[in-house]
Symmetry: C2
């Protein structure tokens, strides 16, 4: 009898079997493996670039956009950057083994709660081959095994990269089976991963809204959702005008394609009066941002395109900004509660009470007083690396550093205690 087992089950099973060996590795052994992987990427750059050329050629034939092709493309410089990323992960503190808490019970039982690897982590992502190495590096550093499922547009690149990484591990104490790549480009392989309870401990999607929603809607394996960001800046009556303008410009214009950029600017009506609004928006207008306005009834901006509820619910990821004049803090809080995605929200104010109310009452992963929403980022928080920014409330919320890739375990030491 021949048992047919899918690629997904075979590889997830192999990863799970490697988990115990991963759990036994010391930090030095894990770091050595990461360094070896970085060396191997550099040594095999030409092979990786050749495989990448296949992806690029296929992409061009299929009419892939130049910007997507650019994200897909690898060259010696980019591979050197990817290898350097691994070496940076080596420098990070290993969270595994840390004691979370420790206490002795009246019956003499000594209880320790320690950080342990999660086990096997599934990563589902799109056509950026750098994610292959970056995600693997973060998972392996924390003693986890990883099952990667990248976008089919980068399949040749990913297959070569993973081959290089796995081969390099043969000279280290880390089991090559700790890294698995699903090469089946059929969407069914994604859906199979999503329901692999017992083999995968968690799935982390990295990509656009459609990819994330597919994972959230269909997974039975626990998911860490790294979701959309409709972020707001509220400019209060007492805001310092220069600071408000600078923060608003930075939050919208510095890199609009990312989840922590601002989509809607809320302006206190008293701040907006007497040219305050025009002054606030002037740098963005000068930079040709497209404005969609609500609540302005006079002046030049009254003729701008009107913002609709649909606009307020849209993550533009572009040089487009909704502007809404609000009667005060209460209306700003209501708008954020109605349209925010609980990612990053900011108040610009010189009023300490209003700042405190905003930071207390807004339900979001990161709430800012007088600073740009763009700082919601693992590197900016000093975590040195980032798996993503969690927009759910379980396990991890906001920028996820290495500790987000660990679970815990209770170790209990007794001398014969039984329960009465």
């Amino acid at each position: 009898m021949i048992l047919m087992t899918s690629e997904v089950i075979q590889k997830a099973t192999a990863a799970q079997k490697a988990a115990a060996a991963m759990n036994r590795l010391t930090t030095a052994q894990k770091n050595n493996a990461l360094e070896t992987m970085a060396d191997a990427l550099l040594a095999h750059s030409d092979d990786i670039i050749a495989a990448n050329a296949e992806d690029l050629s296929r992409g061009k034939e299929q009419g892939t956009s130049p910007s997507l092709l650019d994200r897909l493309a690898l060259n010696h410089e980019r591979i050197a950057g990817i290898a350097e990323g691994l070496r940076q992960i080596v420098q990070l503190q290993d969270p595994v083994g840390a004691t979370i808490q420790s206490f002795t019970r009246p019956n003499g039982l000594k209880v320790e709660q320690i950080a342990v690897p999660i086990g096997v982590i599934g990563i589902i992502y799109e056509a950026r081959p750098n994610v292959t190495v970056d995600a693997a590096g973060l998972c392996l550093k924390t003693g986890n095994c990883v099952v990667l499922r990248g976008g089919s547009a980068a399949l040749s690149s990913n297959a070569k990269i993973v081959e290089v990484l796995r081969n390099s591990l043969k000279t280290t104490d880390m089991p090559p089976d700790a890294i698995q790549l699903i090469e089946d480009s059929d969407r069914a392989s994604v859906n199979e991963m999503l329901r692999l309870n017992g083999l995968l401990d968690v799935i982390i999607p990295r990509g656009g809204a459609a990819l994330i929603q597919n994972v959230v809607q269909n997974a039975t394996v626990p998911v860490i959702e790294t979701g959309a960001g409709i972020c707001h800046v509220f400019v209060d009556e007492s805001a310092n005008p220069a600071m408000a303008s600078s923060i608003a410009y930075n939050a919208k214009m510095q890199r609009p394609s990312v989840c922590n950029s601002m989509e809607t600017l809320l302006v206190h009506v008293a701040f907006a009066r007497n040219g305050g609004l025009e002054e606030l928006l002037a740098p963005m207008v000068k930079a040709d941002a497209e404005l969609r306005i609500s609540g302005v009834t006079s002046g030049e901006l009254a003729n701008a395109r009107k913002a609709t509820d649909e606009d307020f619910a849209t993550e533009y990821n572009d040089y487009i900004l909704n502007v809404k004049i609000v009667s005060g803090l209460d209306e700003a809080l209501e708008h954020i509660a109605a349209f925010g995605t609980k990612h990053s929200e900011c108040i610009v104010t010189e009023n300490a009470d209003n700042a405190e109310r905003f930071l207390q009452e807004v339900d979001a992963a990161a709430v800012y007083h007088n600073a740009s929403t763009r700082f919601t980022d693992g590197f900016e928080f000093g975590y040195g690396a980032e798996i993503g920014i969690s927009t759910q409330k379980l396990h991890a919320r906001g920028p996820m550093g290495l500790p987000s890739l660990t679970s815990t375990k209770y170790r209990i030491y007794g001398n014969g205690q039984i329960r009465g």
Copy 2:
């Protein structure tokens, strides 16, 4: 136009609207509400007992078993116990508002990570009306709103209890809408809850394996799985015989119906020899435990019923025990990896190296050296209360105290910082 909205959506929406007000409550306000709820339960005991009588009468008509009817039954003493449970929750430390970490970045941004309520918690459970009050109390103490969906067999009791609790809150600062009970006893209402992303932040199932698997398999809302326990005790070669026998007896017999009781006893072959096995099992044999044996080839026990792989994969929750003779620690670890549910596992040994290897390598929420698995419990760990015992690796693992019902939030204080 009349919009038809289901009971589930209406009540979850009402809970979500109450979340901001819950988040603003002080610990004193929350404790006062819990005390008021406890007083109200006592004051309305007769009404609750009358409603409970309806459930009991319906249950008898439907042929419900006496043991289930006993779990469902309420009387003055049990209601007093339930009310006392609420007062015990009052005594517990409030985890909300605690600073998890705090640091200042080189650019002057001050970052604080603080514990906050999760938001709206869905609890799906079976026919024990005490869970209605217990789960509500734990959720409210941590500033969360709760949407309860209990078993239909307890519907009249639950409806009356929730009516009493909600009414009692009208004299407090806590919004009555923080407690919601889904009264629609159709299974469709459970499935609707499971997919209520955006209104429910997490679902915690409390009940048997079928209930939990339905939740895990169908939920798109994040779940905290409180799963099955197939727990093992491994008696090593060097184990103290009296201690081994005492721990094994306690782990199996003290309360076999619960998830942290032992299902399989693994015995080192050298310990088992020369009557060691018979001595180890004697107290259980005397107490009429049913034994299913593997690996015994001589003596009286060789004639006992043989344990199969199916037995090893069964959570009996009964006075039935699998016994397997193993060649040593390696085989014990392999057996646990193959059949364990990552709940609670124990080694009895005087060999410190073996103990360390067991505690390091066994992948479970709680690993014990020389103590009964029965201690995996929120009260035994000193948490004072317990939402359940998590058998997943995300967010919480093992006994869940009040901090498991919190999320976190970053508060960032700047003076005009923008990202470069």
